[in-house]
C-alpha cells in the first residue's frame, strides 16, 4: 500500500500541532491557500480563528500569549496581508511576547520581480522580530517551525516570522519531521546559571540597604517569578513597585506594594525611587517612561539589575551589580541568602506618602473614566483579565484596576499601540474561556480595530468591551493643554459613531452610561451578561487629565500631582 506523501504545508501544520500550538489566528489569500488547505486536510487539535484584518490576528495572538505565556500562531497571505502584521509584530517585539507568524509568499522564481502581492516581508520585518525566516526548501519546514518555536519561547521571548513561498508549501515533503535544531549562535540555557560572584555582591549590597525598593517588570512576569518575588519582598520587608507590564507579578493590594511607577505612576512609587538607597530591578528594561532623566535616576541608590538580556545592561542605566539571567533563578539564589532588613522607618515614610498622595479622582462634574474602571474592579473583585488600549484610559486603568495575579493585565507598553486592546482581549478570552475578560478602550483606539467585533460576535466570546468615550485623543490633548498653550491640533474625534448602534449592527448588545449615578447598575448589567460580547459605552468628561505626571525627560522629583497653576515648559525628553 502506498501512501501519498505530505506536502510542505501539511508537514508545517502537523509540526505546529505537535509543538502544542492551540490557536491560529489568520486571514487567507492567494499565496497562503496551500497552508489553509492543510488546515482542512490535516487532523489537528488546533483551532483556526478567521479575523477581519491581519493586525487583529497578531494582537489576538499577543493577547493569548500575555494571558498564558504560550505562543499562538498567525497565518496570513503575502504582500498586504503580511504587511498588515508589522504593527502587531513591533508591539510583541517591544514587550517580549512570543508568537509565530506564518506568511504566504509568491512562488520562489517570482521573488524580486514585483509579482502580484509580492512584498519582501523578510526584509520589512527584520527590525521588528526576534528572528525571521524565508523558507527555500520544502524539507526544511518542520525544522524551521521548531526553531521558530524555540526562539520565540526561550531566552527573552519575541515574535518569529516565517515567510513561505507558495511553491515551497505546495511541493512534496520528503524530510525529517523532527530534525535537530541548528542554532549555533543561540544559547538561552545560559540564562539559568547566574554568576555566583555577582550574586554574592548583590546579597552584600542588599544587606546594607535601609531604604530599598524592588522594581519588577515584564521579565519577572515572563520568568513566572511571582512567588520568588513575594518571598524576597516579605523576607527583606522591602517595598515593591512594578512597571506597566509588571502589573500583577506582585499583588497590588499587598501592604508592601507601591503600585506602578513612572510617568503616570503613583506619587509614592516615584518618591520611593528618588529616596531609595537600593533599587533592585527584576526584569525591567529601565524604560524612558520610568526613569525620567537618566542621569538623575537612582542617584542616591545602589542599583542591581536582573535581566535575561545582556544588551539591557548599561543601556539606559549603569547598575552597580549585573545579574544576567532568568529572573526566577536569580531571585531563588537571592532568597537563599536574604535576611530581614531594618526597613520599618522606610515603610512608615512611604505609608505617609500613600496617605498624602493617594490616587484619586473628582466625583463631581460629569462621568469620569476612572469611576467606570474602578467600578469594574470593585464588582469583579479584581478577578478578571484586563486588556487596555493606549492613552489616558490606559493609565487610569493601570491606576484603578489593581492586579493581584500575573498574566491578567494586557497592555501595549513599549510600542504604545492604539488598537491593541480589543483584539488582545479576544485572544485572551480564547485562551481563558472561563475568566472574565474586560477590554478598556478609548474611542480613538477602539475605532482602529473595531472590525473584530465580528470575530467576537461569531465566537460568542463573553467579553466586556468598554468604550471610554471622551470624543478626543485625550492624552495628546492633555499634552497640548499643558505644554502647548491648549492649542488643540488633530485630537478632536468629531464624527464618532453611535457605539451602541455599531455594536447592534454586529448583533452585539450594549449598555450606555452617561451619569455617575448609573455606573454601578450598568456595570452590574454588563457583568451579568455572558451569552456573548457586550459593549459598554461610557460617555465621559471630555477634558480630564491624568495625574500624577512626570513631564517627559524630567526627573522623577519633578512629578506633578495636580493641575499646574502656571504654564509648563515644553518637555525636553523622549515622548
Amino acid at each position: 500500500m502506498s501512501t501519498t506523501p505530505l506536502d510542505g504545508a501539511q508537514a508545517l501544520i502537523k509540526t505546529l500541532d505537535d509543538l502544542g500550538i492551540e490557536y491560529i489566528f489568520g486571514y487567507s489569500g492567494g499565496a497562503a491557500i496551500p497552508i489553509f488547505d492543510a488546515l482542512e486536510t490535516v487532523e489537528t487539535k488546533m483551532r483556526f480563528v478567521l479575523v477581519r484584518h491581519e493586525q487583529g490576528a497578531v494582537h489576538m495572538a499577543d493577547g493569548y500569549a500575555r494571558a498564558t505565556g504560550k505562543p499562538a500562531a498567525v497565518l496570513v497571505t503575502s504582500g498586504p496581508g503580511a504587511g498588515n502584521t508589522v504593527t502587531g509584530l513591533m508591539t510583541a517585539q517591544m514587550d517580549s511576547v512570543p508568537m509565530i507568524v506564518l506568511c504566504g509568499q509568491q512562488v520562489t522564481w517570482m521573488l524580486g520581480k514585483d509579482a502580484f502581492q509580492e512584498a519582501d516581508i523578510f526584509g520589512i520585518t527584520m527590525p521588528v522580530v526576534k528572528h525571521n525566516y524565508l523558507v527555500k526548501e520544502t524539507n526544511d519546514l518542520p525544522k524551521i517551525a521548531r526553531e521558530a518555536y524555540h526562539i520565540a519561547t526561550t531566552g527573552r521571548p519575541g515574535p518569529v516570522l516565517i515567510d513561505i513561498p507558495k511553491d515551497i508549501s505546495s511541493a512534496e515533503f520528503h524530510g525529517d519531521m523532527n530534525p535537530p535544531l541548528d542554532l549555533p549562535g543561540y544559547h538561552p540555557d545560559e540564562a539559568f546559571s547566574i554568576d555566583p560572584a555577582a550574586i554574592e555582591e548583590a546579597v552584600r549590597m542588599i544587606s546594607h540597604a535601609r531604604q530599598p525598593v524592588i522594581l519588577a517588570g515584564q521579565g519577572a512576569m515572563i520568568a513566572r517569578a511571582g512567588e520568588e518575588l513575594l518571598e524576597l519582598a516579605e523576607t527583606l520587608r522591602c517595598p515593591v513597585t512594578t512597571t506597566l507590564l509588571g502589573k500583577g507579578v506582585f499583588p497590588e493590594t499587598h501592604e508592601l506594594s507601591l503600585g506602578m511607577l513612572g510617568m503616570h505612576g503613583t506619587a509614592y512609587a516615584n518618591k520611593a525611587m528618588v529616596e531609595a538607597d537600593l533599587i533592585l530591578n527584576v526584569g525591567s528594561r529601565f524604560d524612558d517612561r520610568i526613569i525620567g532623566k537618566p542621569h538623575m535616576f537612582g542617584r542616591n541608590a545602589n542599583i542591581i539589575h536582573i535581566d535575561i538580556d545582556p544588551a539591557e545592561m548599561n543601556k539606559m542605566i549603569r547598575p552597580h551589580v549585573q545579574l544576567i539571567g532568568d529572573a526566577k533563578s536569580a531571585l531563588t539564589e537571592l532568597n537563599v541568602r536574604a535576611g530581614r532588613l531594618e526597613t520599618e522607618a522606610w515603610i512608615e515614610k512611604l505609608n505617609s506618602y500613600k496617605k498624602k498622595h493617594p490616587l484619586t479622582f473628582r466625583k463631581q462634574g460629569g462621568l469620569r473614566m476612572q469611576q467606570v474602571i474602578q467600578e469594574f474592579y470593585l464588582q469583579t473583585k479584581g478577578k478578571a483579565i484586563v486588556s487596555t488600549d493606549v492613552g489616558q484610559h490606559q493609565m487610569w486603568a493601570a491606576q484603578f484596576f489593581l492586579n493581584d495575579r500575573p498574566h491578567e493585565w494586557l497592555s501595549s507598553g513599549g510600542a504604545g499601540t492604539m488598537g491593541f486592546g480589543f483584539p488582545a482581549a479576544i485572544g485572551a478570552q480564547f485562551a481563558c474561556p472561563d475568566k472574565t475578560v474586560i477590554a478598556f478602550c478609548g474611542d480613538g483606539g477602539f475605532q482602529m480595530t473595531l472590525f473584530e467585533l465580528a470575530t467576537a460576535a461569531i465566537h460568542k466570546l463573553p467579553l466586556k468591551i468598554v468604550v471610554l468615550n471622551n470624543h478626543y485623543l485625550g492624552m495628546v490633548r492633555q499634552w497640548q493643554e499643558l505644554f502647548f498653550d491648549n492649542r488643540e491640533s488633530g485630537v478632536d474625534l468629531i464624527g464618532n459613531p453611535d457605539f451602541g448602534k455599531l455594536a447592534a449592527a454586529y448583533g452585539i448588545p450594549s449598555v450606555g452610561i452617561k451619569r455617575p449615578a448609573d455606573v454601578s447598575r450598568m456595570v452590574a448589567k454588563a457583568l451579568d451578561y455572558n451569552d456573548g460580547p457586550i459593549l459598554i459605552h461610557a460617555e465621559c468628561v471630555k477634558t480630564d487629565n491624568v495625574f500624577p505626571m512626570i513631564p517627559a525627560g524630567a526627573a522623577l522629583e519633578d512629578m506633578i500631582t495636580e493641575p499646574p497653576k502656571t504654564k509648563m515648559a515644553k518637555p525636553t525628553g523622549s515622548t
Binding site: 526584509g123 527584520m126 542554532l183 549555533p184
Partner: protein, 178 residues
C-alpha cells in the same frame, strides 16, 4: 560640468571619532549582513569598512567591520549584534592585540617618463605592478591601513585615476580566537 567624486577625494577625519574594528562570526545565510547593518544604522553608526567572506567551514562567514563613533554606543552595538540569532560571536579588537591588513589597488595615469619613479615607490611599499599600458598602470599594495594611506599619499604626485581598497581584515594575536 559635474564634478566626479572618487575614493581619492580627501575627507577630513571628524574630531574624537575613535576607530573600532569588530570581528563578527556568523551563520552563512541570506540576510545576515542586513540584520547586522540594521543594528548599526538604527543607532546612526556609519560603517567605514566591511569585509565578508566564507569561513573555512562553509556553514559560517566572517565579517570584519570598521566603524567610528563614541565607545559608549559601541558597547550596546556589540551586545545587540551578539544577540542576533545568526551571530555566533562578535568581538572588538584593539590594534595592540590584533593584526589588521588591507589590500589596495591603485590606477595611475603614468607616461613612460614617469614610470620609473612610480615603480620605485611601488617597490618601497613592497607592492607589485599588475597592469601596465603606455599611459597607465595598476599597482597593488597590502599592509596596515596607515601604510596604505601613505602609499596613496606618495602616489598622489601622479594623476590617480581611481583606487579600490578592500577594507580591513583583522586577526587576534597569539592563540586567542578572532
Amino acid at each position: 560640468m559635474s564634478s566626479v567624486i572618487t575614493t581619492d577625494t580627501p575627507v577630513e577625519e571628524p574630531a574624537n571619532q575613535a576607530v573600532h574594528t569588530l570581528s563578527v562570526f556568523v551563520n552563512n545565510k541570506a540576510g545576515v549582513l542586513m540584520r547586522i547593518c540594521q543594528v548599526f544604522a538604527r543607532r546612526g553608526f556609519n560603517i567605514d569598512s566591511l569585509v565578508v567572506s566564507q569561513g573555512r567551514d562553509a556553514r559560517f562567514s566572517r565579517m570584519t567591520i570598521g566603524i567610528s563613533g563614541n565607545p559608549g554606543g559601541l558597547e550596546q552595538i556589540i551586545k545587540q549584534v551578539h544577540k542576533l540569532i545568526d551571530v555566533i560571536h562578535c568581538f572588538e579588537h584593539t590594534s595592540e592585540e590584533s593584526v589588521t591588513r588591507e589590500l589596495l589597488l591603485i590606477k595611475l595615469k603614468c607616461s613612460p617618463e614617469e614610470r620609473s619613479q612610480a615603480l620605485q615607490i611601488t617597490e618601497h611599499f613592497g607592492g607589485k605592478t599588475v597592469d601596465l599600458t603606455p599611459t597607465s598602470m595598476i599597482v597593488t599594495i597590502h599592509g596596515g591601513s596607515r601604510k596604505v594611506d601613505s602609499a596613496i599619499g606618495m602616489f598622489s604626485q601622479f594623476q590617480i585615476i581611481e583606487t579600490v581598497r578592500t577594507g580591513k581584515v583583522v586577526m587576534a594575536r597569539g592563540e586567542q580566537a578572532t
